[in-house]
């Protein structure tokens, strides 16, 4: 019997090529029409140490890491068992390893997974020319899963497209001989036939970058920080070709202020960071609020506090995103609900920042950002919105950039516009933007900005609600995927659960959320941090009943569907 999905790990020491193996396998499956997702694990060594590629493929979209892996491919056994806690195996799992590589390490062995001997080293020796064990393994696994050689070969060509031809050839050859060798393996991992559609292979970080570009962002100020660096590394050359610019600031203070300066000049601008950098940026977020300047800030969350675990996931920056900055500094906070949603959320964030002249914080996380995922390329997109720039030129006196009127959204003509000169002002100011210290302007401008944020109604973009059960899971970001998968399983077991995902976190879309929770008797807020930050925030907004339950635990392990399902059940 064929299966709907398959979870495979390729692991090995530094230089074993586990990551390329995973990449080729994922791509081959994607080409064949499957959905899929790949995540990476690395040892402590900064670079070149042991690693594991965690790949899932399925005929359905994948949004969560699996409860368990079907297959563990050991390219060698060196230091690999340190990953055991992050790679759940059980007796139904198979371990494909070369007998020459020695015995299965105890941490893996204790899972009781079945050992399937696979003479990879011997196998590649028999082929002609330079050969690669990792590709040999991929070829075999691909064949067993039911892929065609075409798909495997094309995937190898894709992954190694920047390498010299002899390298590509050697990899191709190994994959092909591995493919052939599969005949000797008794391992049933054959996949059901996939449904074909237009698909993309993309990571959450890339998708956010793409969304920002679609949203018009043409300036990025940033400072490298894991796990956000690959976002900007992907973005930089594309932005340049689009006539934009990415500037590496000397630090995050520079980066966010560069972005704010560019935005003041009329260019939609963004900064991209992770927790430590975000903490440094909150003073300037306050400036963007006070001076009413659009800004997109992407925070790819990682495990904190402080430097924490730079490369691993957590959802613990909610407090900082919602509350960070001194003074009354209301801002807009959003989070993509899946990798597939990253582009749309980032695009939406860019529009909202521009239209509401305010900082918009996008809370992504390492799990979304660094999951290379196969998604349907046809995703809903937000309607463009733009900054108001057409101010009424004053007959006399200065232009009232910060006019107090019925509409709190007052035009901000870019510098270069004659007769509308204004000063962006972070001090309490009067309508023309001059510093003022009386209660009148202070309260008036605080009200103006609060009204602006209160008027932001995301409409259907507030989030999503799936199902209508009286039990609801409320989640955001990378926790939505596992929650939905848990709900699918619970539904299959006859215990349907509603899943409510927030795309807009602040200002809390209270009315939409209330509608989504209509008829719910049990509310469970699931999030990935210790302090139950979202839960307390929702309570503080009276958006959930005080009897609501909280499921909150820190990273660095991603939520697995079974974890949520077993809590709910």
């Amino acid at each position: 019997m064929a299966r709907k999905s398959l979870a495979v790990v390729f692991a090995g020491s530094g230089g074993s090529g586990a990551m390329s193996a995973g990449a080729v396998f994922l791509r081959a499956c994607a080409r064949a029409g499957y959905f899929g997702m790949m995540n990476q694990l690395f040892g402590a060594q900064v670079r070149g140490g042991e690693s594991a590629a965690l790949v899932q493929v399925s005929i359905d979209p994948i949004e969560a890491q699996p409860d368990r892996y079907d297959l563990f491919v050991a390219l060698d056994w060196e230091k690999v068992d340190q990953f055991a806690a992050e790679i759940p195996l059980d007796q139904a799992s198979a371990v494909l390893a070369d007998p020459q590589a020695g015995a299965m390490p105890p941490n893996i062995a204790k899972s009781k997974a079945r050992n399937v001997a696979f003479a990879m080293a011997e196998g590649v020796k028999h082929g002609r020319g330079a050969q690669r064990v990792n590709m040999y393994a991929v070829g075999a696994v691909g064949a067993l899963a039911g892929l065609s050689t075409d798909n495997v070969e094309a995937a190898v060509a894709d992954v190694f497209k920047d390498k010299p031809t002899d390298i590509v050839a050697a990899n191709l050859k190994s994959a092909v001989s591995g493919f052939a060798s599969s005949a000797n393996l008794t391992l049933n991992i054959r996949l059901d036939a996939p449904r074909h559609a237009a698909r993309w292979l993309i990571s959450g970080n890339q998708a956010i970058a793409l969304g920002a570009l679609r949203g018009g962002v043409r300036f990025v100020g940033c400072y490298p920080i894991t796990p956000a660096t690959d976002l900007v590394e992907w973005l930089a050359p594309h932005l340049m070709k689009l006539g934009g610019r990415l500037v590496l600031g000397e630090d995050e203070l520079a980066s966010v202020n560069m972005a704010l300066g560019a935005s003041y000049g009329g260019t939609p601008a963004m900064t991209v960071t992770a927790g430590p950098g975000f903490s440094l940026m909150v003073e300037t977020i306050g400036l963007a609020v006070a001076a009413e300047i659009p800004l997109v800030l992407v925070d790819v969350m990682r495990a904190g506090p402080s430097t924490g675990i730079a490369s691993k996931t957590e959802q613990s920056d909610i407090n900082l995103a919602v509350y960070g900055a001194h003074g009354d500094a209301p801002r807009i906070v959003m989070a993509p609900m899946s990798v597939a949603d990253c582009a749309a959320t980032a695009e939406y964030a860019a529009y909202v920042a521009e239209a509401f002249q305010t900082p918009v914080i996008v809370l992504s996380d390492q799990q979304l950002g660094q999951s290379t995922t196969v998604i349907d390329s046809d995703q809903p997109r937000p309607k463009p919105m733009a900054r108001r720039v057409n101010g009424v030129a004053p007959a006399d006196g200065a232009f009232k950039r910060y006019a107090i009127a019925a509409d709190p959204l007052t035009p901000m003509p870019p510098p270069g516009t004659p007769g509308h000169e204004w000063v962006a002002e972070g001090l309490t100011h009067n309508e023309v933007g001059l510093p003022a210290s009386g209660a009148g302007p202070h309260v008036a401008q605080i009200n103006k900005r609060a009204k602006k944020i209160a008027r932001f109604d995301p409409g259907e973009w507030w989030g999503e609600c799936w199902g209508d059960s009286a039990t609801a899971i409320v989640a955001f970001g990378s926790t939505v995927g596992p929650a939905r998968e848990a709900a699918r399983r619970l539904a299959a077991a006859g215990r349907p659960v509603r899943v409510v995902a927030l795309r807009v976190i602040a200002p809390l879309p209270v009315a939409h959320l209330a509608r989504a929770l209509d008829g719910v008797r049990r509310v469970i807020v699931v999030e990935q941090n210790h302090g139950a930050q979202l839960y307390h925030y929702l309570l503080g907004q009276k958006a959930i009943p005080t009897a609501a339950e909280s499921v909150a635990r820190p990273g660095p392990l991603p939520y697995r569907p079974s974890e949520i399902a077993s809590y709910v059940a």
């Binding site: 993309i202 793409l210 300066g261 003041y264 516009t417 002002e425």
Partner: protein, 285 residues
Amino acid sequence: MTDTITARTTEAPHCVFDAKEFASGAHPVWCPGCGDFGVLAALERGLAKHGRPPHEVVLVSGIGCSSRLPGYMSTYGFHGVHGRALAAATGLKLTRPDLEVIVVGGDGDGYSIGGNHFIHACRRNVDMLYVVMDNRVYGMTKGQPSPTTEADWDSDIAPGGIGLRPFNPLAVAIASGANYVARGFSGDPNGLADLILDGIRWPGFAFIEVLSPCVTFRPEQSGWKKLVRPSAISVESDRAAATALVLADDGFSLGVLYRGDRAAVAPPQAPSIAVADIEREFTLA
């Protein structure tokens, strides 16, 4: 300014303005006699001579008495947070090379909290002018020693003096790569206006340290007018020689100290692709 210098400017004036047209009319919060009035006058005059209209000019500043200046001019302005003016100006100028971007502020704003942006702005060499009104004190917070304060200046927070050798902004600017380094005096607004014009037109990052007395917390600085001399520093295109000059100087020589020939950061390239081209990268065909 000599002919040679003008000949190397990047832009010619396109129309002529009166200095008054650069004033916003707002009443400065500065204490009567504050040196910053002279800097304001010099900026108005320098910009009038430069000839670009107020709406094509943006004054960017941080926080401090001196940083209040943008509100007093009729140009566009960005009065940001303390110490980050150079960063904001960098983002602005890199995306809007058509604008004249001038950064102003104090010694605290620029050399203390803003020190990192100062050295990196010098290095980055974006085409803009940075005018520091140095009164060797945090004026706005009512008189604490700044990086340029004399070691023995007595204050509440550092009784008997802070005891540190003052920061040498000119030496640091040269070491960090500024392309134009000068010293002016607020008591000579015309001379300063000429330096400002020169600095605006010089390619790359131009830095003018202005001695601008704080009459309230450093009343003894009224003696500066007797100490300044307009000539001892000569224009040097050699960084080592310029450094030697500035290290040997007593800090009161006025004029252009260094002019380098580094090219400013280039503006962004014209778009060569569309977003749709990028999306193709993700397809699986």
